[in-house]
Symmetry: C2
Subunit: 240 residues, 2 copies
């Protein structure tokens, strides 16, 4: 859609893990460092992938009510405790586990993220709309220099995306109509859920989020309002 | 308290109206402009004071359950509609009333606020903890250049300060102990409520918030951890 077509958009809310930051490379690096401190060689990417693989099932347990409301920091920690023995890291002590869990607060941005957000912020309110908890997103923004106007988290709404309360809630708190808010994400399923609630949609592919063999989310799979290869081109497309 | 004494503090959350921004001067200016457009001379400061005077009773009606949860934007608008006839402005049309209500989104900072916050942000997570709604605080931050890491609002917790849920909620969302969070405010009653929940406290007097005849909150009235005349001196006191 051209600039005129998205003129009503006043705010952009961003998926974060994978869309704004490279969780896989960042977590793998910290896993490898933690393993080396234990004198163990392990595949940091494999543990990062396995850890991320626990993410959706953990949230679904919360969504189904099998777990009480639990923030991602705590889901991450529980998953790490399950995974460490499988990677030869069962001897990791409490302090190291707590610190490694905070690797998710220290994720590095994709190369275009900070510059693109700075441009987009001049024209639009920019915020997160992430399943990460508030403290995680705040610490990440400070670490990575992400210039958010506002942090919306699953924790804000006590519901995980793709629950409609998250998309509806962000628009309501901004006092905007859903069509005035665009979700920007690298994930077609997130965009589909947002579009179903009336939000505008922007797809930015991150073709190495899941590593060099990534087979998902390489292309837009819906009628998204804007498709761009990175945040700078997104800013171009939105006239920012 | 000296720097060593507040060393555990990791985040500062700020009262906003009066503490960070000069609501009275900003609102009075916009009232005067709106009146002039109607061809009416009115006392902008008097209307600003009357408008602000409706604030606490309105929130108390929500807190007592006499009103359902209502954000400040809507409380402001209802109060404006009640007040305009008294100030000879009953003829103001819908668009002008809606715009004037948004004057509260365009409040100007005190002269030291932006520079002080920029310094404090280098060492601490900084956020709002305000009875203003999220959209108001986001728009104000963009208008005034306030570099918040996070926006905490009564709307986040669906409770108005001094409800304990607001102070407790900010610390919990930051994943910090209450003593690791300092409320900074120009109002002794807000600080007393925060201290009762275990937060650290910083008092910055704003002796003209209520105009040249201000008789309240000129001095600290509690055992606050830090007392400073402005945000730059607050940064000095906190080693930021």
């Amino acid at each position: 859609m051209n600039e005129a077509g998205v003129a009503p958009v006043k705010a952009l809310v961003f998926d974060v893990f994978g869309t704004v930051v490279d969780w896989r490379g960042s977590v793998a690096r910290e896993v490898s460092l933690a393993a080396r401190r234990l004198g163990v060689e392990t595949d940091g990417f494999a543990l990062a992938d396995a850890w991320r693989g626990e993410y959706a099932p953990s949230m679904q347990r919360v969504a189904r009510g099998e777990l009480p409301w639990t923030v991602i920091d705590d889901l991450h920690r529980a998953a790490l405790d399950r995974l460490l023995p499988r990677f030869g890291l069962g001897a990791m002590d409490e302090a190291a586990r707590a610190d490694l869990t905070l690797a998710w607060h220290r994720l590095d941005p994709w190369p275009d993220s900070v510059a693109g957000l700075a441009r987009l912020k001049r024209r639009f309110v920019i915020g997160t709309l992430s399943n990460g908890n508030v403290a995680l997103l705040v610490n990440m923004a400070r670490h990575a220099g992400l210039p958010w106007d506002v942090i919306f988290s699953a924790e804000t709404f006590r519901a995980y995306k793709p629950d409609p309360r998250t998309y509806d809630g962000a628009a309501a708190m901004l006092r905007l109509e859903p069509a005035e808010v665009m979700l920007v994400a690298a994930h077609n399923n997130d965009l589909a859920a947002a579009q179903a609630r009336g939000l505008a949609t922007g797809f930015v592919a991150r073709p190495t989020e899941y590593g060099p063999e990534q087979a998902r989310d390489l292309h837009p799979e819906g009628d998204w309002d804007v498709v761009a290869p990175d945040f700078l081109r997104l800013a171009d497309a939105l006239g920012a």
